[in-house]
Symmetry: C2
Subunit: 411 residues, 2 copies
């Protein structure tokens, strides 16, 4: 009898690996051993080991009114938050996007909440979402929880570039099989690999999506831009991608996933947004209908202080300017580590996947036991299918040469 207590669809739920849990383990060992290198969790840290907080966020947090802190947040979000997120995400291209598309913003519990809602609302139970073969493992949990599955295409071709051929083949195949194509791309600054797709990659992806939509098959593009502000190049460059949207077939729905955790270091607040974009008003109406429902039907409303801090930064030029200045420092922190890591890897002959931004550098490995091997050496990384992910976001410069040398021995 006992195994009937949970619902049938929940029978085989089991958290296999939990990045946040491994990170706790790393912290525990670090408290005992000074030489522990913790490159697990995607939170930006200073060299001194404390989290990189934005001073403008901190100042605002401590000067919100009681209502801005304690009241329930409106389900649909404040105007300052929603319009602010759109302006920030699309940057110089905001006007162009607004002219060509209908759009709407649903505030969510972080980027995770946005992906979870979208998986659930835009697939039939049992259907599959197409995703690159290297992916952030919690996507599996979002899928299983939504009663759907993931299926993969090869992220890289032989030249370590985005593999548009395999994407096309897998997308067409899936679309024809299940009469729906829901694709998730985490770009730019892919987690875990650090890949940034080129404007040409994006053009080619849109061309595939259009071909499917031409056959009257529903197409949903989930575009996870969690690390959009942490490119090696100027962050405006990250926004060029959105120009490829202009070629969208009228019936495509894009859901752009914004992460307040990453952009503002508000990891602990659980605030993000899904931006629905389509040339079809009807599709955006449906996006709002089911998205609002999921917010209300899962957790009532999102973080009110988180929403108000972000709304203020995005709508007050003074705060926004202060934030942009601080973001330059954050990016420099990452860039210095990335460059040293790449130099060391080159020097020591450790082959890494091409990195162009974000919190992570990854290395292909054939060693299935590498996580444990590295823990023996007091190094904590995240092991994923055939690769290990190094969170340079929480790595000290001084640890990088030693880390590269340890990695090289076990890869």
């Amino acid at each position: 009898m006992l195994n009937q207590i949970v619902g049938k669809h929940a029978e085989s739920k089991k958290l296999e690996s939990n990045i946040l849990q491994i990170s706790q383990d790393a912290k525990l060992m670090k408290a005992k051993h000074a030489d522990v290198i913790d490159a697990t969790v995607g939170m930006l840290h200073h060299e001194e080991g404390n989290v990189f907080k934005y001073q403008v966020v901190e100042d605002l947090l401590h000067h919100l009114s009681d209502a801005e802190i304690y009241h329930y947040a409106p389900v649909r979000g404040t105007n300052a938050f929603s319009e602010g997120v759109v302006n920030w995400v699309f940057g110089n291209h905001t006007q162009t996007i607004k002219e060509h598309f209908h759009y709407s913003v649903i505030p969510t519990t972080g980027g995770s909440g946005a992906i979870s809602n979208t998986f659930y609302n835009f697939n039939d139970f049992g259907q599959k979402v197409l995703i690159a073969n290297h992916y952030w493992t919690p996507y599996e949990n979002f899928a299983f929880e939504a009663n759907i599955e993931l299926t993969t295409f090869q992220m890289y071709d032989d030249s370590d570039c985005f593999n548009i051929e395999d994407f096309r083949a897998k997308a067409m195949d899936l679309a024809h099989k299940q009469k729906r194509l829901c694709v998730l791309l985490n770009d730019p600054c892919n987690n875990p690999t650090g890949l940034c797709m080129s404007p040409d990659d994006w053009k080619a992806v849109v061309s595939v999506l259009n071909q499917v939509a031409d056959e009257d098959i529903p197409v949903i593009l989930i575009h996870d831009i969690a690390y959009v502000d942490y490119q090696l190049k100027d962050p405006q460059y990250s926004r060029e991608t959105f120009l490829s949207y202009l070629d969208f077939h009228p019936n495509i729905l894009a859901v752009v996933v914004f992460s307040g955790s990453k952009t503002f270091s508000l990891y602990g607040f659980r605030i993000g947004a899904q931006i629905g974009i389509s040339k079809s008003k009807d599709i955006i109406d449906q996006f709002v209908r089911v998205g609002d429902y999921s917010v209300r039907g899962r957790f009532s409303s999102v973080s009110q202080p988180g929403m108000n801090i972000i709304g203020k930064i995005f709508t007050d030029p003074h705060y926004q300017n202060q934030f942009s200045q601080e973001l330059i420092h954050a990016r420099k922190l990452l860039k210095d580590r990335a460059i040293l890591f790449m130099e060391e890897a080159d020097k020591q002959g450790l082959k890494i996947l091409p990195y162009c931004g974000g919190f992570f550098i990854s290395i292909i490995t054939q060693n299935n036991n590498i996580f444990k091997d590295l823990v023996q050496e007091h190094v904590f990384v995240i092991q994923m299918k055939k690769l290990i992910r190094i969170a340079i976001s929480s790595l000290r410069l001084q640890d990088i040469p030693r880390l590269v040398s340890i990695l090289r021995r076990h890869i």
Copy 2:
């Protein structure tokens, strides 16, 4: 084609009424008209109109460390939070509960998140949860989002007492039909009615649940205690209910839903917990397995500042004492309003449902148009099936006589 864009199970999702939205409308009208009475949303307010915040919460919020604010919260919650919640919820009976039961705490995005997760994990798709006929309407949204339904029993018998006969009949019927009994009871201080079930009511409920469990049918009791700290009587009295748990059949799972929103006025933070309780270790293991998964698979982790504030209050006797003193003031605010409302209702001949605590007083009505009729009079309440709900939590004493008189005219 367009209507295929959402998944089949999401086709008919539509937010019919949204308390938070109606509350926004009330605020807008109040900005224009001084005489507006807003008795919509369940947030405790001072007489002067500002939200009742707890000073100890406020002080802690502004003195958390960076890690306590910005880091991701651990999925399983901190020990201070989890043990603190258990101690607080069960009060004087904590030791007794711990001796007789296995238990575990899963932090959630408010009480809403706890109910949503439990609906989803402990029912097969299409099954029904048994609930009183007067209920907080978002339960419908949690159910629909979880792909299940609600079915009701009559809350009151002819003497306006808890209708154990109808509960028994509907519970047995449902259990036999679907081979699962999942019951949600919102007690004490029911939202919307203000009912508090007596210890005898609880004994009778447990006896029904045991009878079902005896037939090897899975039994899940969702016990929503959002308003446990806002009884008219001493809050310890609210905890007496849990003594009825001691008679539980070994295979029953109780999920006690704790709301950080209500107990600490942390409405905007989205922090709560589900406490799983069972005499069966296997059942609690399953509770943890699927609950952890839902946290990770829906929103990654909960509010870190919310969790740490609550953890500190619950584990530091100084903070807890300060909180308990403030809670006395909060309860007095509510009590003064409730007593005046009941006196005025009595004087003016307005029949209300028996109230014994919580944020709401309700009145049965046959007027299907009452919401609009009252808006004409600049009064905002929440209309539910056959009743209107008055949030005394946000009602000024001086408005009560006029409100009762307006209600009497339209009921």
